[in-house]
Every structure is written in C-alpha cells, then in structure tokens.
Amino acid sequence: MNFGGMFGGAGASGVSAQQSSAQLMMAEQEIEMVTDLYNRVSDSCHAKCIPPTYHESDLNKGESVCLDRCVAKFFETNKKIGAKLQEISQQNQATQQPGVGLFG
C-alpha cells in the first residue's frame, strides 16, 4: 500500500465489462477517500483558524491566510506521515520481523 498518495487513478483505456466494473469500484473508493480527506481538512482548519465569536460574517485577512496555510500543511503532514510509515514498514521487513510489518 502506498501511503504517500492514496489516490492513484484507475487509468486504462479500451475496457471490457469486467474491467469497467473494477474501474467503477476503484473510482467509488477514490471518491470516498477524497471526500473523507476534504471533510477532515475542512473540520481541522475551521477549528484552528475560525474563532467561535461571530462578530462578522466575512473571512478576514488573517483567517483567510490561516486557512490557505492550514490546508497546505495538512497535505504536507499527510505526505510526511505516509512516507514515515512506509519507511518504518520497510525497516521492519528488512529486519525480518514477521507480524510487525503492519503495512506491507
């Protein structure tokens, strides 16, 4: 499993009915994952950047900049942790510890 990126596209052309159904399932899964990621980003960044005192209905400059940075940092975090997990699982595989390689 590739953690650095979870949304590998299903890219093929000229497909049979079976391949088409498999592609459909992959597309569905991908949509679910992206939606879930979006919801998590949105919730986290709202909690971190928008103070719960609603004096105004506009995003002010600070909040806007905070949101931009927050989304970027969330993606970077996602990537960092994915790479780290992969590194750990490779180390475990290299040292031949059966059962420890959680993400093989």
Partner: protein, 93 residues
C-alpha cells in the same frame, strides 16, 4: 470526471452514486453546521426563543462557514490535483 471509458450501465450507476453521495454529504454538512453554530452562538437559556443576538450570530456563523468551505475547497482542489499528478508521474516511472 471522465466517464467516457465506462459502458452505459456503469455510467448510470456512477451517476446514481454521485447523486447519493451529494445528498449524503449535504445532510452531513447541514447537521454538523447546526451543531457547530449552535455550540458557538447559543448559550442563554432564559428564553425559549433565539435572541436577536443569537440569531445574528447564527446567520454570521453560517455565512462564514460557507465562505470557509469555498476557500478550503479551492485550496484543496489545487493541492489534490498536484498530488494526483505527482503520483501518476511516479507510477509511470
């Protein structure tokens, strides 16, 4: 999204799934927004009606959330596109 590779039955299934998801996501967003704005704005229980202050806060909270969503959505789309491109480039190596 590109459905041109799918046959008719699958394309229809995909369409139905997208509509179901859209409905589900909207209901989810709606209920979480109600909770969020209620928690932030409503804390005076000396009356059973929303006060003018609470009402104003709820409206601002909702408007602000929509603007938040729009902005996060834009940044998200940009970064997610970049991520996918990076991956498909890796896959071709």
């Amino acid at each position: 999204m590109d459905f041109s590779q799918l046959n008719d039955a699958d394309r229809q299934r995909m369409q139905q799934m997208l509509e179901r998801n859209q409905m589900r996501d909207f209901m989810r967003m709606y209920s979480s927004l109600v909770q969020r704005c209620f928690d932030s704005c409503v804390d005076d229980f000396t009356s059973k009606a929303l006060s003018t202050k609470e009402d104003g806060c709820l409206m601002r909270c909702t408007e602000k959330f929509m603007k938040h969503s729009e902005r996060v959505g834009q940044r998200f789309a940009e970064l997610n596109t970049a991520l996918m491109e990076e991956q498909s480039a890796q896959g071709q190596k």
